[in-house]
């Protein structure tokens, strides 16, 4: 199963699940429990928490499929358990915190019983690191501080806080913290300067009439004027209207960065914890805060932990115990091998298979001339598939080069009058400019077309796995880019029945299909044309793609006498068929977890 969640669970949500799980222990299934939660949460997040609690041996799924709370240890009363389970949030913990602090400051330790000693011996590597740091620091640390000081990843630090809290070696809590960010006007001032600076900068060295001031908007002038006058940065006089001149102090002010500006630069585009400012900075912040839309405040919950009496008492055990005593059942760190992306792995296999069947790989550029994508393939220039809505065009670069004049002429004749083939052609004026337009290849057949132009061995078998581009909407069956397994075979006495034989071989050998079915189909470049369908044991009949014999207008005009049996199969469809997926987006999943474990 692919797991998707945007936020990893936070401690308060874990607590909520714990409390509910305990309350309804052995009464509810996992889904029922989810529905019983006092606050709603995403099921995936919930699942993650359940996995975590199972891993931490707090709960288990019993034989009846109900969630059972199992953490009650010998000799412990349920009431005391209840008091310390989970992590309380906010101010309620203030009193506990003080009490603990007192104990720790007095370096009071206590004798640990055997069960508690075992708990210490069985600590995981990250917990040991965290506990040591907590013992050394003797004060409350945030998850970030813990991560940094203990030299463990942030998510490990978070986990160790939770675990140490559960084992009552540490005491954790969540605190809401306020972060300062720049508001819209603050950001503007950061880029273009404070309004009074802009205003002063626009004054020049002479008296200036108030109506001539353009540096700041009219509605801000009065404020700027008032502030500047108060600080002695300007002189004022009134003739017909108010006139202003900058003072020496004003000039000084212009050249030096003010505290407010320095503060803007300090905050910049970051979110800064309010607690990280000293008293003087807080004063500056207050002034900035008076300005409209300069500052914004964001509240975020952060996790903190400090060591408990028990934790402190356990530290000597960590020091003396050189070899950690292993609990064989303990969860260990997950590691992942290097792996190929599943779709590319499938491509590797297909290529190998095709080579063993005697196929040669063709060139398959991403960008092609319309000439190869359409014209060589006898698709008239006014064909609906060539319109703006059906295929991509390039804006830059726009045109490419066409091959040898003789070939261009042969294609032109094919379109206009059938050329050397016994055909009427499309009866219109073929345009070389249109043919030289560039586009991302819209189907793999563009590469077969290039091979036909370059020359074909007889007998010859050709293939490519081509990346194709069409302006489609992305959904469970369509991607913005898709792949085709494309190719053709050329040979004497090749027939439509042999094409059907080849398609059947692909479906059976490559996709592992049991049965195939052929439907009449239409492609501008093949005649006869057919569609290949294959039977999947679970998915039913699946459409694999199209095939046909390249029209005589194409081959004969390029000087190829033999029939070319061509096909283009949906590579993504093939991979889904083989890997048993029903959403094509999974093939190119951006979920690292799924890539590591999912397939």
């Amino acid at each position: 199963m692919e797991k998707k969640w945007i936020h990893s669970p936070r401690l308060d949500t874990i607590t909520m699940v714990e409390v509910t799980a305990k309350k309804y222990s052995r009464k509810l299934s996992k889904t029922e429990l989810w529905k019983k939660l006092p606050k709603k949460m995403m099921y995936q997040t919930f699942s993650t928490i359940i996995d975590h609690l199972t891993e931490a041996k707090k709960i288990r799924l019993n034989e009846q499929g109900k969630v059972e709370w199992i953490l009650i240890k010998e000799g412990q009363k349920e009431t005391s358990e209840e008091k310390t389970a989970g992590i309380p949030a906010g101010k309620e913990t203030e009193t506990i915190k003080k009490e603990l602090n007192k104990e720790i400051l007095q370096e009071k330790t206590t004798e640990l019983n055997d069960s508690e000693k075992n708990t210490v011996f069985e600590l995981s590597e990250i917990e040991r690191k965290a506990l040591k740091v907590l013992g050394k620091e003797r004060k409350e640390l945030s998850v970030q501080e813990l991560s940094e000081k203990a030299g463990i990843e942030l998510d490990s630090a978070r986990r160790s806080i939770q675990w140490l809290n559960e084992k009552r070696l540490g005491k954790a809590r969540i605190q809401k913290e306020v972060f300062v960010v720049l508001g819209e006007e603050g950001l503007k001032a950061l880029k273009t300067g404070l309004p009074e600076k802009k205003f002063l900068g626009g004054l020049g060295n002479t008296w200036k009439k108030i109506s001539e001031i353009k540096a700041i908007p009219k509605q801000e002038i009065n404020i700027a004027l008032g502030n500047a006058k108060k600080k002695g940065l300007i002189e004022l006089k009134k003739e017909q209207e108010l006139e202003i001149k900058i003072t020496g102090k004003g000039k000084e002010f212009l050249e030096k960065k003010s505290e407010e500006e320095l503060m803007l630069e300090k905050i910049n585009e970051k979110e800064v914890n309010e607690n990280s400012f000293d008293a003087k900075e807080k004063e500056v912040l207050k002034f900035l805060g008076f300005r409209k839309n300069f500052l914004k405040h964001k509240e975020k919950g952060n996790e903190f932990i400090q060591i408990t009496k028990k934790g402190l008492s356990g530290i000597p055990l960590l020091e003396t115990q050189k070899e950690r005593k292993y609990n064989l059942m303990d969860p260990v760190e997950e590691v992942f091998p290097g792996k190929k992306q599943p779709y590319f792995k499938f491509v590797d296999e297909i290529k190998q298979k095709l080579v063993s069947l005697g196929f040669k790989e063709m060139e398959n550029p991403l960008i092609v001339q319309e000439f190869y994508n359409f014209d060589v393939l006898f698709q008239p220039q006014n064909h609906p598939a060539r319109t703006w809505t059906d295929t991509y065009k390039l804006k830059k670069p726009e045109y490419g080069k066409l091959p040898d004049k003789k070939i261009v002429e042969a294609v032109k004749q094919a379109h206009e009058n059938g050329g050397k083939a016994e055909s009427k052609g499309w009866k219109y004026n073929w345009n070389e400019k249109i043919a030289s337009q560039l586009m991302p290849s819209a189907h793999g057949t563009a590469h077969s077309a290039r091979q036909l132009v370059k020359g074909v061995e007889v007998p010859g078998k050709y293939f490519t796995i081509a990346r194709c581009f069409r302006p489609d909407v992305v959904d469970a069956t369509h991607l913005i880019e898709f792949n085709q397994m494309e190719g053709f075979v050329a040979g004497e006495n090749f027939t439509f029945r042999k094409l059907l034989g080849l398609l059947k071989e692909f479906a059976v050998e490559i996709a592992g299909a049991e049965k195939v079915k052929f439907l009449p189909d239409y492609y501008p470049f093949t005649e006869p044309s057919c569609q290949l369908n294959a039977l999947h044991p679970k998915l039913g009949w699946v459409e694999f793609g199209g095939a046909g014999i390249f029209r005589a207008e194409i081959t004969e005009n390029l000087g190829i006498k033999e029939k070319c049996l061509a096909w283009g199969l949906g590579m993504d469809r093939l991979a889904m068929f083989k890997l048993g997926l029903n959403d094509v987006r999974e093939l190119f999943s951006q979920n690292l977890d799924w890539l590591r474990k999912g397939i």
Partner: protein, 545 residues
Amino acid sequence: MPTIESSKKDLEELIGKKFSKEELEEALLGVKGELDGIEEDALKIDVKETNRPDLWSTEGIARELRAYIGKEKGIPKYKVFKGKRKAFIDKKLEGIRPKGAYAEVRNVNVTEEVLLQIIQLQEKICQSFGKKREQVAIGVFDLDKVKGNVRYFAATPSLEFVPLGFSENMSLREILIKHPKGKEYGQLIEKFEKFPLLVDENKEVLSMPPVINSEGSGKITTKTKNLFVDVTGFNQELVDVALKIMCMALADRKGKIYSVELNYGNKKIISPQFRKEKIVFPFKEVNDLLGTEFNAKEVITLMEKKRMQGSIKGKNLTAEFGDYRKDIIHPWDVIEEIAIAFDYNKLEPEALNVFTLGSVREETNKTKETRELCVGFGLQEIASNHLSSKEIQRKKMNLNEDFVEIANPVSLNWEIFRKNLLPESLDFLSKNKNTSFPQKIFEVGRTIELNERKETGVEEKWKLCICVSHSKTNFNEVKSILEAVARERKTGFKLKEERIAFFEEGKSALIQFNSGKKGFIGEVNEKVLGNFGLETKVSVIEIET
């Protein structure tokens, strides 16, 4: 590929046979049709032939299937009665919209369903076959409201009539500006000084092709019995085909077709005329192409199932078919019909039995080696798109460069081609911030950059990008990998310290391999990490492979 909406009951009545869903699916193969949806009586049929407008209605599908299932055979026959009406077509329409074709169809049983089918057929023909009315536009009128001969001419834009759906007179120019159809199709004529107009003997306007009919005669209801069909365009052959297809469908609804005499100055044409076309080729070609052993009689019977007539003269087969079919331009077009009539699934697939030596391209071998090497380093392979956004490739990367760009993107997310793999790799990491660290990923893929000297104005390069992300990663960690890659490739390399917009200053360099390939190495700087919303350090190598 047109999708045709039909009533199952109506289709069955027209064919003269009832079908189960499976039987219907089977039968529709005869028109290259696929049942896209069935809801009680309502059918959606995908007809894959883009060159067969005659199949884009219930009548057309039924006509073809009557022969396919053996109820009729050969070319469908339509009688044209001699009509009295004349149509005068003005020479001044040259360059504007010079060709017209007209017919009367009388005594049509216009039910709700027939009305829907007339509209559907008309629209499908105009949209697809008629290139959005540019090549072919069709109007259907209440014949009883059309007085005497009709005149098709280039009219002054100030002339007025009441367009369909409106109640007041509007000038031709106004219609282009105000009427919804005027806005949609006006661009086909607005550049001219005069606009095409069809009027009757009393100068009552029938329509302004290809834009809109008049409210007066252009409104068809279930009370209408006699119809007048008008088709305009640039090519008489196309216009005639469209007219014939409309007449055939109406005649299938018990209508009687009456001719109209077209007058191009002194030149007179009777419209419509149903003729046969033929194509002659050696009989042997049938079996040569299909790999079958059909005899002449079998082939002729199969052709008759596909509305054709066949005859043998010497070694040659003559195939005749109605001249409403413009898709048959080569003998193989006929042979495909024979194969469909026989049923593809009755043709025994035959093994190729040809032995050739297979091989992959050099780049396939090389990229596979590189990827296997990376897997050996313990890296996870990822796959990203070749199309990307300016946001990711340029803005977030702190770059200002030119890219190969799509002219008609469907989304700003896929507007340009990637030039480097790194931006998409960082985007990948940003989607996996909650997955456990260290994260070590790689991608081998193609990138595209502008290069005028190349045949397509672009150069496509295979590249390898490795990203290592955890809190203590640094330049040296990826440099170790780089050295190992070079060692395996048996090539040396030089590093040149360089400021790179997305890397930490003093912790980035350009890579120059002795083999000529290039690349870059470094630690992603905080600004770029921030742009991608990444919180953990990332070190990178990206090299041409």
